[in-house]
């Protein structure tokens, strides 16, 4: 009789299978239902094109219906393409590679083109792919549209809210949940891995504060770490349980595929007929943006433009000799003072100040004392003394006053919105927010270009 041994190298023993089935039953009997959104790998981030015709033989020339979005120097990925191959030339319909294909490509073969070697394209959608080989992260994740139902067991915990700064703080709500490995693989096709998203169905919240929400709020977690559970080893020494550390899901770039794709108002689940995304119902981000908008509005009310508002101030007009016109002025068209009128009449010029309010950033393109101003790109003809004109062809716009002999510069429009954006006319903002283009021999050229990419050829799309 051989010596008893529960341990056996190689194939699992019946002891193992017996114990494993009992453990599976325990999950079926006592586990909670968990829905798993399976991570499939990163979304394709680069250019994917199909060949328009077959290669007669191995060659460096490949035909496409259009090559407009392909740039010289791009890396090429594809079957029969050597790793590190680049685009060295192109015409409207053909691309020349730096190396011959290893076999002749048939028509409608998919090739991929990418610029950063550390952010490559992959030929297959796979959870093994890494989107960014430099930062080693998968930012734009793709999830299975199918949802997998598993059973899991975890120890419920009292959650302490740490609302400082961010509502619920990072570690708060971290749980450890265990799955039956073989059941998990049978259902999911692989073990649960970090990045998979699970929904604990029994934690659905039917009573949120906003009772107008169209659906109950579901509890999502993301898997952050997995390993064999210590309590999941049987006397055979083989593991049966998969222990996962889970954190509350955040509405972030990584999970947009779930949060945007799932429509909570679909009449038939999975039909894609709904309009209300899961993210819009469950996420706090839109509320934060509304709060931010309110703060910006308050800030813009306090300081609509940089500098100081002097438009409400009254500047005492002065006569040509610099005195206050305490006597009513009548100015003839030639600038002489008349004595025939006690008030300004239509024949007189504007009784305008010769000096604006002086100060740091005090002019926003208006006029002085609310007096009429001519806005244009040239000076008006036959002006009268005191006439004001705002030249919009000056940058910044400039206000002039006619003193009888010449147009005297009064102020430059130097006040600007301080909210970052296109209305912000600061020097830095002019560099950041300039969306203008011009046309030259290469077509439309954007004025704003990154320094590292300036003057380099770009794709047209």
């Amino acid at each position: 009789m051989p010596r008893l041994s529960l341990w056996k190298e190689g194939r699992h023993t019946n002891d193992y299978k017996f114990i494993d089935r009992r453990m599976s039953e325990m999950f079926t009997i006592g586990g909670t239902g968990i829905l798993v959104h399976k991570y499939l790998g990163p979304n394709e981030q680069n250019i994917s094109k199909n060949t328009s015709s077959a290669q007669a033989s191995t060659s460096s020339s490949i035909s496409f219906s259009s090559t407009a979005d392909i740039n010289l120097g791009m890396f090429v990925a594809g079957n029969a393409v050597v790793t590190g191959t680049k685009v060295v030339a192109k015409t409207a319909n053909t691309v020349t590679l730096s190396a011959n294909t290893t076999s002749a490509l048939s028509a409608n073969t998919t090739l991929k083109f990418y610029t950063d070697a550390a952010q490559p394209s992959y030929m297959n959608q796979s959870a093994q792919n890494i989107q960014d080989l430099f930062f080693l992260e998968n930012r734009d994740r793709k999830y299975d549209t199918s949802v997998y139902n598993l059973r899991g067991i975890y120890q419920t915990q009292d959650v302490t809210f740490d609302l400082s700064q961010f509502g619920m703080f990072l570690q708060t709500g971290t749980l450890f949940i265990v799955f039956h490995i073989n059941d998990m693989i049978a259902s999911l096709g692989r073990k649960i891995m970090p990045g998979d998203v699970i929904e604990l169905m029994h934690l659905k919240d039917y009573n949120p504060l906003d009772d107008s929400l169209p659906v109950a709020l579901k509890r999502f977690y993301v898997i952050s770490d997995c390993n064999n559970a210590s309590e999941g080893f049987s006397p055979t020494w083989w593991p049966h349980l998969w222990r996962c550390k889970i954190n509350p899901l955040t509405d972030s770039q990584e999970y947009k595929d779930i949060l945007n794709q799932i429509k909570v108002d679909e009449t038939i689940p999975g039909s894609g007929t709904g309009n209300i995304s899961l993210g819009s119902v469950s996420s706090i981000i839109s509320k934060y943006q509304e709060i931010n908008d309110a703060i910006i509005r308050e800030a813009e009310t306090n300081v609509p433009f940089s500098g100081y508002d002097t438009s409400y101030l009254y500047v005492k007009p002065t006569t040509d000799d610099g005195r206050y016109p305490t006597d009513p002025l009548g100015l003839t068209s030639d600038g002489n003072i008349t004595a025939d009128s006690g008030t300004i009449n239509a024949g007189a010029g504007i009784d305008s100040p010769g000096e604006p309010v002086r100060g740091y950033l005090t002019y926003a393109g208006g006029t002085i004392n609310g007096l009429p101003v001519t806005v244009g790109i040239s000076f008006p003809t036959n002006p009268m003394i005191g006439d004001l004109t705002l030249r919009t062809d000056y940058l910044p716009n400039r206000l002039f006053r006619y003193d009888g002999r010449r147009w005297v510069k009064m102020e430059d429009n130097v006040r600007t919105s301080l909210t970052p954006g296109p209305d912000n006319d600061t020097l830095r903002s002019n560099f950041v927010n300039d969306t203008s283009t011009f046309i030259n021999n290469t077509g439309n050229v954007s004025v704003r270009q990154s320094l590292s990419q300036a003057l380099r050829p770009k794709a047209d799309n």
Binding site: P42, N43, E44, Q45, Q131, D132, F135, R139, L163, S164, Q165, F166, G167, K204, D205, P208, L209, L213, L217, K218, F220, D225, N247, P248, L249, T250, S252, D257, N260, G279, S282, I284, I285, S286, Y288, Q289, N292, I295, A299, E300, N302, V303, F305, G307, Y308, D309, T310, Y312, L313, Y314, Y324, T326, D327, G342, Y360, G370, L418, T419, P420, V432
Partner: protein, 452 residues
Amino acid sequence: MAQQFFYDGQIRRFLVQFIRAVSNFDVEFGRDRDGTKTLQRVPVYYGDPSRQAATILKGNSENTLNGVPAMSAYISGLTYEQSRMQDPFFVDKMNLRQRRYDPDTGLYDTQQGDAYTIERLMPVPYKLTVKLDIWTSNTEQKMQIIEQLATLFNPSLEIQSTDNYIDWTSLSLIQLIEVNWSSRTVPASVEEPIDIATLTFDMPIWISSPAKVKKLGVIQKIINNIYDEQGKFTEDTILTNLVSRMVVSPINYSVFYSGNQLKLLKQHEIANDDGSLIVTQPPNNWRSVIEIYGTLVTGESEIRLSLPTGTELIGLITYHPTDPTILLYTPIEDTAPTNTLSPVNAVINPINVTVNNNLTNPSNGTRYLLTDDIGSAINLSGSVIWGSLIAKANDIIEYNGTTWNVVFDSATIKTTEYITNLNTNVQYRWTGEEWVKSVEGVYRGGDWSLVI
């Protein structure tokens, strides 16, 4: 009694502007399953909410998803900066005129409105330290935000708490002091959903006491010597007995008071010795003068006329409805000179006065002010009406039930006296030489003042 409450939200306004300065930045998400790239704005909010407000934002549910990227700003310090301290007792004054405001339209028109003098006490310097937490879910996202923010501070970013021209403390700047790149331990051993980078900023700010906003203060009288002829400095010297003083009007105008009207005169327009006026054209416009100092408020604005007695006649003013050269003047009765003599029943010329019952049968105590002489020492028979009365022009006579007697001998009285003519209710002033209307006439620059 408790100190008056004041709160202007000064620190709040700086914090609001700080959040504005770092708002409106986007991050770019990569291509989704449809190949579409998206931009998402990074919200910025105050990072120290109350527990209740935070719970409301989360919908009172554990299932609400936190969102990233996001930024939160909060104050981590406020310290007094001795190095920026200046004279704490310094009071700065600025004089401003506003354009006239139309409360119905909410607009300012082209005319002058109110004028003010603003007194500002030296503000107190503080250093406001603010932390900005940047919440991201991946390194690329953090890079995108940091790269956009990093160009803002070179070396600092100027911000303002208000755009009020009067607020001399509104300008400040944001200085990036420190960057704490990550809240996580690097290398991260497990996948954390959120990373926090913390940027620390300093803002040199000022906290101000309330300002004093007053009606525009205008120098009406300048006393340039406060010592008497003996070189003594006493209260009397200042108040009454100044031997060397200069009273000026800033624009050197005079006013002519007649009836209930005031006219504005330049110095050279008062020319004739007889008091007649030579007014050059164009006539002077009251509005343009008053608006140098502010706005005339009907029922409140006053003109004060300095009287020879040292008192002032105070009257309310309003613009004439049609004539801009005239100001309607309503003296306040209590400020008018008090009569020093009993009133007279009439001012008469005794030579050609109409003889009626008032003369033929006057009642006891009837008093008249004479504009011409009557009677003579050589006319022993006297007249039917006046009897043997002998009086001079400017004398006041009174009937005692039997005869007329001189009760005010103009030849001997040199003090200033006031009397009212009951027939016209006009008050007259005895100058020592002649009777003149008590308050009407020309008031030169410095002898009148405008209170608006």
